[in-house]
């Protein structure tokens, strides 16, 4: 058994479950502490550095951090990370934030970059390149910036003021934005002589349902993302009284809830699969149902029913899910009679695809499977070296935070490329590890563990909500609740750092550890971790979580820590007579574009 190499920054990074799970690796516990201290501007800026849209994401993020949050393994529910982020955005001081924005050099570096598409991916590239002196042109076919954040995410989830502020924060850096400009030829952009081109055009093509009656009923069948955009830009202002929404993802939920706000009395959401397999986030389903949307599972659409040339309903076959030995699902008809649901309008929200009809296939950009561009997963470079892809355009539909993470990495590549460096030469993350000990029983962070269960965010009255498409439904935490929710965070970045030579093997840490994370054990005969896991004081059954194995102790045993349910309470360090255990704050910052130049300067 080899001792754990804690000098590898990824070891401690992985312990900070939320930050590790966040595609942009936002330092979550750090900003949660700042919120608890009322330092909203600082909390906002930490977010902004990592994820560029704290106000937007504090409302709409897919929050991969929350299922990863340690708190969910210790008790029922994770910390409401996303909603705490919003608290920072809601309570920040706009002037202070404006003042904290990076300076934009007036003397440009002479390099010109084109961004195609104005969504979060492109805007992130702009955010990272503008401070370095690049000249950036952005092209988008919509009347304003934000991409799908503007056209798809409805205002009752994301008010326009919040979006405008965070989009403008970037555009105001001096990006020259060309809105209402659809790029119909990559060649035309290449011909403009840009040094680099970033494609952030998303996945804008809705999937359709080609079933009998589709053409005759055309007037009353709407494709989810097109319809949502049309409502957002106020081309569509009404829908029929009875609406069916086909599909079980988040787009379907937004169609349901938008329908209620533009005139529907009854909205039925119908999915082919069992409800448990629905793709929508649980909270989106919950919010839809609270507003009166009815969910129907295991209904496979068969036919659009048209009478006198007008849509009147839809026929469904009833199915049940069966799983083969490999767990592969098939939907098998139950043989029950078909179900007919009456309706005036139908929204089809069954997915979206990428589409690059505007990229000529002879400009050196290679396309592969499913007519998707061949893009490097780390550098985001295409087969044409000065063309980069990111966001939904790179590997298919994801979410805003993923688009942001791509944008940061693509910006690094563009900067490396335009400075004559290899794009493979990625800058290392910035890490620090600092003791938090202040004195006897005193740590610089609040090491007590709050017992509170997750606090719910208050919602606007349903009656009012469904009357006003722009009225925000979620009201956000008030400051008092935010402070209580923030206290639930376990401060996973306060790492338990162990120094084997100091340990006198008194057992104090093992005896005190509330969650039995620690074991001193002889591992001389063990080959690997798999052998060690079952032999710990509490068997380490969660294999996604690391084991720390120390160097050899005096008795030739080793100290082992299962990171799984460590509360970061510091009791081990508190009870250690020799400070062999210490609580040390670990910071991990993903490097951004320009870091290479800085690193080179430092070396010179």
């Amino acid at each position: 058994m080899k001792p754990t190499d804690t000098n590898n920054p990824e070891y401690y990074h992985k312990v900070v479950d939320c930050q590790y799970a966040c595609p942009a690796h936002t330092p979550v516990p750090e900003y949660i502490r700042l919120i608890a201290q009322g330092r909203y501007n600082d909390a906002y800026m930490i977010n902004w550095e990592s994820n560029v849209f704290p106000g937007v994401l504090g409302r709409t993020c897919d929050r991969p951090c929350e299922p990863a949050c340690r708190r969910g393994r210790v008790e029922e529910e994770p910390v409401a990370i996303c909603r705490l982020k919003r608290v920072a955005a809601d309570n920040k001081d706009s002037e202070a934030i404006a003042a904290a924005m990076p300076a934009i050099p007036t003397r440009k570096n002479g390099k010109r970059v084109a961004l195609i598409g104005g969504g979060p991916a492109s805007l992130t590239v702009a955010r990272d390149l503008m401070p370095l002196g690049y000249t950036v042109d952005l092209y988008d076919n919509q009347p304003a910036g934000g991409g799908f954040m503007r056209s798809q995410i409805p205002s009752f989830r994301l008010p326009a003021t919040v979006l405008d502020q965070e989009v403008n924060q970037i555009l105001d850096m001096g990006v020259s934005a060309h809105f209402n400009t659809y790029v119909d030829s990559m060649k035309s952009i290449i011909d403009k002589g840009y040094d680099a081109i970033f494609v952030g055009t998303g996945a804008p093509r809705p999937k359709d349902l080609k079933l009998p009656g589709r053409e005759e009923a055309e007037a009353n069948i709407h494709l989810g993302i097109e319809w949502l955009a049309s409502v957002a830009f106020e081309h569509t202002k009404a829908i029929g009284k009875k609406v069916l929404v086909l599909g079980g993802g988040n787009t379907a939920m937004d169609c349901c809830r938008t329908s209620l706000r533009v005139g529907a009395d009854s909205v039925k959401c119908v999915v082919r699969s069992p409800r448990a397999d629905m793709k929508a986030s649980p909270w989106e389903i919950e919010d839809s149902e609270r507003e009166g949307v009815e969910m129907f599972e295991n209904h496979t659409p068969k036919e659009f029913i048209v009478e006198d040339g007008k849509l009147v309903g839809m026929r469904f076959e009833l199915v049940r899910a069966e799983y083969d030995a490999n767990g592969k699902r098939s939907l098998v008809p139950t043989g029950e009679p078909d179900v007919i649901m009456e309706c005036d309008d139908i929204c089809v929200a069954v997915g979206q695809d990428n589409a690059f009809p505007w990229i000529e296939r002879d400009v050196g950009i290679e396309f592969g499977q499913w007519d998707m561009p061949v893009v490097d997963r780390v550098t985001f470079q295409s087969s044409r070296p000065n063309v980069f892809f990111g966001g939904d355009a790179a590997f298919g539909p994801e979410n805003v935070i993923t688009a942001v993470a791509h944008g940061h990495q693509a910006a690094i590549s563009i900067d490396l490329f335009l400075n004559g460096h290899s794009v493979k030469n990625r800058p290392a993350p910035g890490v620090t590890l600092v003791s938090q000990k202040m004195g006897v029983h005193e740590w610089s962070y609040d090491n007590s563990v709050a017992n509170d269960l997750r606090y719910a965010v208050p919602h606007e009255d349903v009656g009012l909500s469904v009357k006003d498409r722009k009225l925000e439904v979620e009201l956000g935490f008030d400051v008092a609740t935010a402070v209580r929710e923030a206290a639930r965070c376990l401060n996973c970045d306060a790492q338990t750092v162990f120094e084997a030579p100091k340990c006198i093997e008194c057992d104090a840490c093992i005896d005190i550890c509330p969650t039995d994370c620690l074991t001193m054990i002889d591992v001389t005969d063990m080959e690997d971790e798999a052998q060690l896991r079952p032999q710990l004081k509490m068997p380490a059954t969660n294999e996604t979580q690391s084991l720390f194995v120390s160097d050899s102790l005096q008795t030739s045993r080793v100290m082992v820590k299962d990171e799984n349910v460590c509360l970061h309470c510091g009791m081990c360090a508190e009870r250690c007579p020799t400070a062999a255990w210490d609580m040390q704050k670990f910071t991990y910052h993903v490097s951004k574009a320009g870091a290479c130049a800085v690193q080179e300067e430092e070396q010179a």
Partner: protein, 350 residues
């Protein structure tokens, strides 16, 4: 900024036959020095009681004065407790035990509390074979009063102060054997694998069960030159064997081929199974135990493990034929049988 033990425990924490987890046997957060051996003994008590599925309200923990005597606060928070006067715990247990023989009596003391001020009390509890577990947390010093040498400090051993101890040490296990204890063991706070089964066997034993646990005082007596520090004890430790406490229903695991096995069945049917590393020891023989202890001591080694036990011993209640029922279960008539009965007794003595 706080010093509180979190409420959360491992989500898969096992439960015992009563449905209790270890948490149900914990006490208040210790205020002893970080790294004190006594805390490990507390953890071993928690573990033992949990594993034995003992209902916490059936245990009474009693102690004298000292860091060691403070520990009952730090385990079995739902049991009865009595923190008595320096060296007087044996008398209080005697009284309590006479009044209610149904409880499990766990006496906790220190080497100062037992070998100095409480020596006389200790001696009488032993010779009466009082049914109790008597744990001495032995650190060779008076921890609570800042580390003065105690009567168990070895000749020449230096505490933090740096002065070698001039006086011969009292070996409390030896004294207990001499005075007729019916269960005698020695252990080390840093060896829970050994200590936990010993505590379990001691709890099951009927009669006086004595465990001398070497328990380093990390603050005053864990320095080079001390014979009661972690490093010294670990380097000089020998064990009579591996003890396995086997409740009635369970199967006994085999010893390694080069070890001899010895089994002792207790009055409640449980079995103490010893895989002996020293096959010269006969755990049923007092003389053997005394001889072995001397043998190791002469070689500068510390012999730990189970040293002696007499499973058929008669405890104090048996000897004086006292009430089978706890006094509180007796009615007024039985407790106070009246003038006529008193008269009879008096007459019989005339």
């Amino acid at each position: 900024m706080t010093y509180l033990r979190p409420e959360f425990r491992h989500p898969q924490l096992p439960v015992n036959e009563l449905g209790y987890s270890r948490k149900d046997y914990e006490g208040a957060l210790s205020t002893l020095c970080a790294g004190c051996g006594h805390d490990s003994i507390s953890a071993a008590v928690v573990q033992s009681m949990f594993e034995m599925s003992i209902e916490p309200h059936r245990v009474a923990k009693l102690s004298g004065i000292g860091c060691s005597s403070k520990t009952p606060t730090y385990f079995l928070g739902k049991s009865h407790g009595f923190n008595s006067v320096h060296g007087r715990m044996p008398s209080v247990v005697t009284g309590a035990n006479m009044a209610n023989r149904d409880l499990i009596y766990l006496g906790v003391s220190g080497d100062g509390d037992t070998a100095s001020i409480g020596m006389g009390q200790f001696a009488h509890a032993v010779r009466r074979n009082l049914n109790m577990v008597y744990i001495v947390m032995n650190n060779g010093c008076y921890g609570l009063t800042k580390g003065q040498d105690s009567a168990t400090a070895d000749v020449g051993s230096c505490s933090k102060k740096g002065e070698p101890n001039k006086f011969e040490a009292i070996d409390l296990a030896g004294v207990a054997l001499e005075l007729g204890a019916t269960f005698v063991a020695r252990s080390f706070s840093g060896d829970k694998d050994q200590l936990v089964p010993l505590i379990k066997a001691a709890v099951s034993h009927r009669g006086f069960a004595f465990i001398d646990v070497i328990s380093p005082c990390v603050t005053f007596n864990n320095n080079p030159g001390s014979t009661k520090g972690y490093e010294f004890v670990r380097d000089h430790l020998e064990a009579t064997g591996t003890v396995d406490f086997v409740p009635m229903r369970e199967e006994i695991t085999a010893c390694y081929p080069n070890q001899t096995s010895e089994e002792v069945t207790l009055h409640d049917g449980s079995v103490v199974h010893l895989c002996k590393m020293d096959d010269k020891l006969n755990v049923r023989s007092r003389n053997s135990a005394v001889e072995r202890m001397k043998n190791y001591k002469d070689r500068g080694r510390i012999l730990t493990g189970l040293l002696y036990m007499d499973p058929d011993s008669q405890d104090l209640h048996d000897s004086i034929d006292s009430s089978k029922k706890p006094l509180r279960q007796l009615g007024e008539k039985e407790l106070c049988p009246g003038v006529a009965v008193l008269q009879n007794i008096n007459d019989s003595l005339r």
